[in-house]
Each structure stands twice: as C-alpha cells, then as structure tokens.
Amino acid sequence: MTTESRTEARTETRAAAPVGRAAPPDGDGLDAARVSWSAAGRLILDGVDVTAPAGAVTGLLGPNGSGKSTLLRAIAGVQAPSDGATGPGARVVFAGTDLLALPRRRRARTLAFVEQEASTDLPVTAGDAVLLGRIPHRSLLAGDSADDRAAARRALDDVGAAHLADREVTTLSGGERQRVHMARALAQEPALILLDEPTNHLDIAAQLDALRLLRDLADRGVTVLAALHDLQLAAQHCDHVVLLSGGRVVAAGDVRDVLVPDVLDPVYGVRTEVLTHPRTGRPVLTFTQPG
C-alpha cells in the first residue's frame, strides 16, 4: 500500500470517526458512555464510550492491560462490586434500555457474556452445559422444560456442535469447547453478545470458525462486541473496531479508519503497514519493530 492511500485513510479517520463513536447510536445496538472502573485505587477504565451497532461485529482491541476484559465485564454486570466500582455517570444502554438498571435475570435474557476460557472439572456434558444458558428463562427452582431442551439443541446446531452433545466438556478440544460456550450463550437467546477473546488458544481453523459464527449472529440482527487480541483477525472479520489503550478509547470506527499506522503505531509501539487482501479487498496488516 502506498503512502498516498495511507494518508487518505488517516484523513478519513479524523473526519469520520470522532473518538468513542464507532457508529451513530440509532437506538438499536449498544451505547455505553462514561464507563469508568477502579479497583484498589487504580483506575482501569477512564470514562470509556463504546457503541456497537446491531447487526454488526464490533471488535474491542488494545494491548494487554488496556482494559478490554474489564470493560466487557462492567457492561455485562458480572464484576463483583468489591473488585472495583463503576464510576459516576456511567450509562450502558442497549436498544433503549438501561442495562445496569435491569434486574439480573432480565439482563441475562438480553445479554450473554462468553468469558475467556471458562473451565470446569465437573463431568458435565456439552448438552447440559448448553442447557445452563436456559437458566435465566425459567424459575431458579424449576427444571428444564421441553422448550429449554429444544432451545439448547438449536444453539448446539447453530454452532455446529450437535454431535458433541453427549461428550463431557473436559474431553473436548479447545475449539470444540469454545463452540459449546458460544452455544451456551446462544441458548440465552440474547440480543447482545459480549465475548472476551473468543479466539484465544484456538488453532486457525477454529478461530475462523468462531469468527464466522459471530458474523452469522450479526446477520441475524444480534449485536456482537468481541474483545480480540489479534489485529489481523479483527481487520478481516470486524465491521467496526474500538481501540483501547490505558483504559481510554484511542480510536473507534470503521476497520479501515482505525487499523492504520498512525493510530496503531503509538499504541502498540510497532511499525504497521497496511496491504489489501487480493480477494476480499479488506486490509491486511503487517508489523515490524520500529526503527
């Protein structure tokens, strides 16, 4: 890619993507504003604004320790209060509803959170693990109904893991386990799904598989916000990205506007070059050490 087009891209960034607005909040999708989080006197998130439009895959990027996981957990409302606190004025709105004010169980019917590498030592089958996703849909003391089992089966089908239903989770490969976790989230029938590093520790085929699933979800109108480590994957598979550094949003917007050398180089301390994929036309990133 030539210097000329890089300059062009940079101009677009400044013009089209004001910080903290990945997409105009159109009433659909996620609109979180002024999310701060401090734990043990340390500010982890400093007034973060994030939007993720419905029907799109939004990637949450940033170096290690930039606050990606904490942001997802704060939005999902799964962070224990003693592990920190949201700052004043934080607002997390999804499709016009204040998520932070929702009762837990209703929130769990709207929002599913796929954490990084959830594991268990218990001999639980994949089918039963997915059925857990139905818990927010029924009384806490009730057993699963035929509807629940049907929804769980659909979720397993959707991630292509129906054949794993009777296998114990502990015996599955990393990629298979990730699919089961995604199916568990799908069984919640969420309109918003948050994922923390869904491609971590997966081989490349399983990574593409996971991202393909996110694309399918977005195509069905689900709002997808995924923390991703791999900028290359984000460039190939996300519609929008939000780049965090040191607990603040550095840039947000279309992939082509944010994943450019001027934005990435200072954040990661690398030298970035952007090429174009010959077949898909999407940006391909290469990195070298600076200097």
């Binding site: 030592d121 218990l122 039963d128 292509g160 085929a205």
Partner: protein, 361 residues
C-alpha cells in the same frame, strides 16, 4: 469446519422429540430405585444385631408401634426385646440414615459452591468447632449438654470462618476454603490442648468415640433433631439444583446467567452450616460421607444437581446405615465408631476414584 456455522434458519431442526440432549440412560429409574434401596436397607439392618432377635420379631415390634399390630393380627413383643428394637436399634438406624443423607447433600453443595472437589460439609471448620464444644463439656462432665455445645461450637466456627473470609473481601471459593482451614486448625489445636490437659481415662474414651463420629447413643430425640434438620434444610438445599448448576463454570458464568452470586453463596453456606451443625451435635463428625458420596453419585448421574442432590441424599442415607451396621456387628460385642468404618471404606474408594482419573482432583 465450513459446514458448522450455517445460518440458523437452515439448521433449525423441527421435531422437538429429537432436540432433547440425550439423558444418561436409565436416569429416570435411579431415584425410585434408591428409595427402594433405602427402605430395604432400614428394614434389613434393623434386624441385624448381636441380640438374638428373629427378623419376624423385629418387624412385629415395629408394626405394633406403628399401630399396625391390630390390623395385622400381631401380638406385641415382650418388653425387653421390644425395647431393644424400638428404643435402641430403630432410632440408631434412622439417625444414621438422616445423618448420611444430610452429610451427602452438604457435601454436594460445598463442592459445587467452592468448586473444590475435596470440599466436604466440615470445610468451614464446622467439625473442629463442634469437637471443641463437645470436648469442653465432656471433660467438664456435663455430657447432657453435649449436643448443644457441639452445635454451638459448629455455628461459632462458621461465624468465625465467614467473618474471616468476608474481612478479606468478597466471599470467594478460595477465601472460604482458606478461612475454614484457619478456623479448623485453631479449634483443633484448642481441642488437643483441652484433651491433653484435663482428660482422664474415663472421659478419654468417650471423647475419642465422639471425635471419630458415632450414632451409638442415638435416641428418638436424635431422630427428631436430625430428621427435621434434614427434611427442612436438606430439602431446601436439595432444591437449589439449577442455582448450583449455574456455578458449573465459575462465579462469572453464574453471574452472567443472572444468579446473585454473593447472596446465593452466603445463604447456602449458612444452610450447610446449620444442617451440619445439627447433624454433628448428634453424631460427632463422621468423615468421608460428604466427601465420597457426591463423587460416587456423580459417576452415575453426571454433574446435574437436580438429580445429583436427591440421589446423593438417598445413597448417603443407605451408605451410613450399612456402615453403622458394620460398626456395631463386625467386632461384636465390641463396637467401633462408625467414623472408622466410613474412613476405612471411604479412603480406598477415594483413592480408586482418583486412580480412575475421573478428574475429581
């Protein structure tokens, strides 16, 4: 894996009959079967004993006391053998059943809440606290106060452990385990000191028997206390299946499923402690039932708590009744504390489970 992530519409299966994830085979029969086993266990073990009582005599005694004697045309038993059945053996068998059921349920709950396969009902220092209370009254010669002192000791240990865990921060599994360990060690040290300092030959044997766990002295009062505790608290705990399931993948996953994690953990810990305290006050601390039974039953049922909890309770009841039957018959006329029997059975079984690599640790 190109076939895996198709659009949902194309993959929706229509017939609900095929959509249920397959249950483990025969699961529906385990509950009724274990009820039958438990009833049979009680009816059989109550006839086993050193005294020369025929099976018919034993059942005749029980039927008479249940008011069925007239309807069945049975004559009442002589006072002595009748008392032996009705005042000694039956309360003992029923107490063993209640204690076994309660310990097994508490074990399941503790293992799930702390996500620690080595957790047992005594994890929060309950048995050490109860032992300290019991030993104090035993060396003081106030044997009549033993149940109260044991229960008080258990609850005090729980309060100390939770306060310690809470003082560090949120009550997380690890903090719970560590706080329980600290309280346990302290109470055990105090117990040892009291025994070392003041126990004489007479009380020593009594103390040892209590520390090992025993239902030898069970009366109808014991049956009432343990029975009511198990029926009320045990049923409440056993009905929390879905909630405990939600903890399968940890606290965050449970929170993401809408479970109020901190409140649930606190309530269940207190429930376990009260039930265990009530059991310990009657039987001393009988080891291995709450540790082993859940693992053994999980091998059958998988980890789903809605089946695991009641089935563990029923199996725990039968297990402890048989263990106690061995305890009072194998070396007859001498008895050994049932805690020795459960340990003698439990430790090898635990080793076997480990060896089979079922990832319980």
């Amino acid at each position: 894996m190109t076939t895996t992530a198709r659009p949902a519409a194309a993959t929706r299966t229509s017939e609900p009959a095929t959509t249920a994830p397959a249950r483990r085979r025969g699961a529906a029969w385990w509950l009724p079967a274990s009820v039958v086993v438990l009833v049979a266990t009680v009816l059989v073990t109550v006839t086993i004993g050193p005294a020369d009582l025929s099976v018919a005599d034993v059942w005749r005694s029980i039927a008479t006391h249940l008011g069925l004697g007239g309807a069945l045309g049975l004559a009442p038993l002589d006072a002595l053998p009748d008392g032996m059945v009705w005042e000694l053996r039956l309360p003992r068998v029923l107490t063993a059943a209640a204690v076994g059921a309660g310990l097994a349920v508490c074990g399941v709950v503790m293992q799930s809440l702390t996500r620690n396969p080595l957790a047992d009902p005594y994890l929060l220092g309950l048995s050490s606290g109860a032992s300290l209370g019991a030993v104090l009254v035993l060396v003081a010669g106030l044997t009549v106060l033993l149940p109260v002192a044991a229960f008080g000791g258990a609850v005090a240990a729980l309060a100390a452990a939770l306060a310690l865990a809470g003082a560090i921060g949120t009550i997380t599994p690890t903090r719970t385990v560590l706080a329980g360990l600290a309280v346990s060690q302290l109470a055990a040290a105090a117990t040892s000191f009291v025994i070392f300092w003041s126990a004489t030959g007479d009380s020593y044997r009594e103390i040892l028997s209590w520390l090992m766990g025993s239902v030898a002295g069970a009366t109808w009062t014991s049956v009432a206390i343990t029975g009511v505790a198990v029926l009320v608290l045990g049923t409440l705990l056993a009905s929390t299946g879905s909630i405990l399931d939600a903890f399968t993948f940890g606290d965050t996953a449970a929170a993401a499923l809408g479970v109020p994690v901190a409140r649930v953990r606190w309530l269940l810990l207190v429930g376990v402690a009260l039930l265990t305290g009530a059991l310990v006050s009657q039987s001393g601390s009988i080891g291995f039932v709450g540790l082993i039974l859940p693992h053994a039953v999980r091998l059958l049922t998988g980890a789903r708590h809605r089946l695991l909890l009641p089935l563990s309770a029923l199996c725990g009841a039968s297990f402890l009744v048989w263990a106690d039957t061995l305890a009072r018959t194998v070396f007859a006329p001498r008895e050994v504390p049932v805690g020795i029997v459960t340990a003698a059975i439990g430790a090898p079984v635990f080793a076997l489970l480990l060896w089979r690599g079922r990832r319980i640790a």
